[in-house]
Point group: C2
Chain length 255, copies 2
C-alpha cells in the first residue's frame, strides 16, 4: 500500500525528496480497538498520521473518568506540536477507536526537514493555529454551554458535515457522551427528550433530524461562533427535574 502522505495538510508542501526522507523514519502500525498508542506523560519522540480508523485522544481524571479531547480522523496528523518542546511529553493518551492504522514519524528527522523548508514551517504553524482555535472553541462549549446545548450543537455540526438530516452517529453513544463531557445517562436522556419533542427520531445509532430550526435554537450556534450575539432565543423555563423541559417560543426573537 502506497499512501502519499501529502494528503495530510502538514506534509502537503514537501517535495518528493523530502517525502522520501520523512518516510525513512516512519513506521506503520495497526491497532486493535482500545489498543493504546501512548499514554499521558510518555516521552514524545514521534508524531502520527491516521490512515485508517479513528484515534481517540483523552485524559483520565483522578476518579477514572475519561474526557475525550479529540477524535482524529484519517488523513489527519496529531501530536506534531510537541516536537517543538524541549522535553516533549504527550499531554494526552491515545488509543484506537475500532481498528485503526497509523503511520508514526520521528520528530528529529522531521525537524531537520523543517529547518530547510520554510514553507513547511508555515504549514505547521497554520495547522497549529487551527488547532488552537479549535481548543478555544472547545473551552467555550464546555463552560458556556449546558449539556443539551452541547449535544444539539454536535448534532447540527454532524448534519452539516454529512449534508443531510439523516445520519449515523460517528461512534458509540458512550464515546460521544465522553466527547461532549457528559455521562452516558445524560446523553441518553437528552436524546430521549429531543425525540419526545419530535425534534428528531432515533433508531439505534441512526438519527433523523425532524426540526432543524428548533434544534438550532437549542444549540445557540450563533453565540458559539461569536456571531449575532444580539439574537438571543427566548426560553420559557418550566423545568421539573426533567431535562430540556422548556418550551421554546419559535417566534423570531428580534422584533
Amino acid at each position: 500500500m502506497n499512501i502519499d502522505i501529502r494528503v495530510a495538510h502538514l506534509f502537503s508542501a514537501l517535495n518528493d525528496d523530502q517525502v522520501r526522507q520523512v518516510m525513512e523514519s516512519s513506521h506503520t502500525g495497526t491497532f486493535k480497538d482500545g489498543e493504546s498508542l501512548f499514554e499521558t506523560g510518555d516521552e514524545a519522540a514521534r508524531f502520527f498520521l491516521v490512515i485508517g480508523g479513528q484515534i481517540k485522544l483523552f485524559r483520565v481524571s483522578a476518579n477514572g473518568d475519561q474526557k475525550i479531547i479529540d477524535i482524529i480522523q484519517p488523513g489527519n496528523t496529531f501530536a506534531e506540536a510537541l516536537m517543538f518542546m524541549e522535553h516533549p511529553v504527550y499531554p494526552v493518551s491515545a488509543e484506537a477507536l475500532g481498528a485503526a492504522r497509523v503511520i508514526s514519524f520521528d520528530n528529529r528527522r522531521f525537524l531537520q526537514i523543517l529547518s530547510e523548508s520554510n514553507e513547511v514551517c508555515f504549514r505547521i504553524m497554520g495547522t497549529m493555529s487551527q488547532r488552537l482555535r479549535g481548543l478555544i472553541k472547545e473551552i467555550d462549549d464546555l463552560t458556556l454551554q449546558s449539556a443539551t446545548t452541547r449535544l444539539c450543537a454536535f448534532l447540527l455540526r454532524r448534519m452539516e458535515e454529512v449534508g443531510m438530516p439523516d445520519f449515523t452517529l460517528p461512534a458509540a453513544k458512550g464515546v460521544l457522551a465522553a466527547r461532549l463531557s457528559m455521562k452516558p445517562e445524560t446523553f441518553s436522556r437528552i436524546l430521549q427528550n429531543l425525540s419526545v419533542k419530535k425534534v428528531l427520531v432515533i433508531k439505534n445509532n441512526k438519527i433523523k433530524i425532524m426540526d432543524e430550526d428548533i434544534l438550532r435554537s437549542f444549540a445557540h450556534l450563533e453565540s458559539i461562533y461569536g456571531l449575532e450575539p444580539e439574537k438571543s432565543i427566548e426560553i420559557k423555563g418550566t423545568s421539573m427535574t426533567d431535562y430540556c423541559k422548556f418550551t421554546l417560543t419559535p417566534t423570531d426573537s428580534r422584533e
Copy 2:
C-alpha cells in the same frame, strides 16, 4: 521608553535589523481598565505584546456571562497564532485589566521576517506548542474537576509561583472566579469553607495557606498532571447542601 521586544520569547531570536523592521510596523498603546483591544470576530491584522498591566482574553456566552480564557502578563505576546490563517479573525475578545500598555505588530510584516528566518519560525512553533498544551490542561481543569478542585489547584499553582504560602490574589475575586469558570458567589463560598476548615486564612485578597497537604489532596494535582494516577485520596462524602462539606481523612491513602 525603549523596550527591547526581545524579552518576549517570540522575538528573542531576532537580530537588530529584524527588530528594527518589526518595530517599524508597531504601535504602542495605553488602555484604561476595561477598555477593549478587540472583540471576538474582529478581523485580526495585528498581534500584541503586553509591556505593562494585564490583558484579559475572554469569550461571552449568549446569556452575557464571560469566560476568561487567559490573562496575559507583561512580556508575553498574544494573538500571534492567528496570522497563519487565511481569514484571521480573533476567536476571543481582549480588554485591559487595570491600566495596561501594549505594543501591536502588523501580521504581514512579521510574516515576511518569518519567511527569512527559520529560527524565529521555530520559536513561534515552540510558543504555540506551549499554548496548545496550556489549553489542553485548561480543558482538563474544566471538565474533570469540580469548582473546589479548580480553586484549590489554582491556589497551589499560585503558591508555587510565588514560592511562599503567603500571597496576594493576582486579580479581583470576581475576575478569578470567571477565570475558573464559576460565579463569584461560589468562589466566595469555597474560600469561606476552606477557611472554616483551617486550610487557609483569608484577609481581603491576601491568602495564607495553613495546610498545604490537605489543600493538595483537594486539588488532586497528581491526576491533573497525569502522574501517580494510582494515588487516589479517600474522601468521605457527607455533603449537605454545603460546598466542600467532606471530611478528608488525612491518612496517606496508600497502605
